[in-house]
Amino acid sequence: MREHATGPARLLVVDDNKVNRLLLTRSLELQGHRVATAENGRVALEMLRRESFDLLLLDMEMPEMDGFQVLEQMAGDLQLRDLPVIVTSSLEGIANVVRCIELGAEDYLPKPVNPVLLKARLGASLEKKRLRDQQKEWMRRFATREVAQDLQVSGFALGGKRVHGAVMFTDIRGFTTLAETQPPEETIELLNTYYTLMFDSIASYGGVVTMMAGDGLMAVFGAPLPLRDPCAGAVRTALEMIETIELFNLERVAADKPQIRIGIGIASGEMVAGYTGTNERATYTCIGDTVNLASRLEAHTKAAARTILIDGATRAALGDRVQVEQLGPVPIRGKMEPVEVFSVNLGQKL
């Protein structure tokens, strides 16, 4: 990612004609950019897939693979679809220009290319690319890869869709007390380490973190992308998290720091997944009874003095694959009837 759009950019010039290639390269180099060239579309795509460029200047009429085919291939390639393309051509007919734009070209400059116009259009395109890169970077940092990809593929729209999946809530036991007994810097560091470890477990079983609040985490298995076995993913994650916390605690004891304990609640079933908020600020989340139940189960781990609690639906989905202790019907806040709750035996492999 470039710091400034006006700084040097790495550009690829694609043109089958040598005079055009030389002249365009010269113009761009005089503007301070670094330029590589390709003599047809096939060579250009190979270079684009091998090296990283900020922008492509593309001729249309070329042997082997013409500019239209390059644009089509780029549109279908997640890695290349956001690379800005300026078409430089002396194509006859407005229909061809329209076709370039429809295929995703950012701009069209007729040949011979006017250097002043070139500089202006190039600056605008690079600036737009910089903003897009920044957005992607933010997205990567604040959303998970799956959510970011779902956004890239499906676009952003408020509103949800019904999905079947498993929801997991986790919480650090006695976190408030812990936070009060140590300097805030240490608490932040503890949380960062904790989140890093937990995110890793969640992601490795196909889960997506949808919420972080203080020491609490919510993760969903089965959205935005469906999972074949969301309940197994959630329970495996929970078991791995507990193992990881135990290792983490060994380090903490060695460093003379208090150990941490976590509680996990898992429920599965239908829920509504999607983006909520406003068009300016939105978050990917899941809502519904299943989500509420998972949250209640997590809260209940303390009263039940157990580490991982799951609901009847999750238990049923896993059958004999999971060893559990039946805790019987438990009254849960927000539920008319007491619900069947199971505690997952620790240390087992699913």
């Binding site: 089958d16 055009n20 030389l22 009429e61 040949k111 011979p112 250097p115």
Partner: protein, 115 residues
């Protein structure tokens, strides 16, 4: 012919924007490449290869316009848009007319290059 072979305003603009030395290199490249483009026009005409014919005429047009060779550019554009049929009708005469104009352009460019 009232129109000059090379439009000096465009040629000078090119020199100003890209640098005199670079334009000499560019002219030399064009003078090296253009004869094979003319051959390509003749071959693709003989072989009835409409794609190569159109693409080559397009390339010549684009280079001619770069140097301000308007007449050559116009002839090349006619071939690009007209395709093979009109060339067949004149038995290849339109290609030869373009080749003659190219000879004038080449002479003028050599003169400008050495000036």
């Amino acid at each position: 012919m009232s129109e000059p072979t090379i439009d000096r305003a465009i040629y000078d603009e090119l020199k100003e924007a890209a640098g005199a030395e670079f334009v000499i290199e560019l002219v030399d490249t064009f003078l090296t490449e253009a004869p094979s483009m003319l051959d390509e026009l003749r071959h693709s005409f003989a072989a009835h290869d409409a794609d190569v014919f159109r693409r080559t005429a397009h390339s010549l047009k684009s280079n001619a316009n770069t140097f301000g060779a308007h007449a050559l550019g116009a002839l090349a554009k006619e071939l690009e848009l007209g395709g093979l049929a009109p060339v067949v009708a004149t038995d290849g005469q339109s290609i030869e007319a373009l080749a003659q104009e190219y000879a004038r352009v080449a002479a003028a460019l050599k003169e400008l290059r050495n000036a």
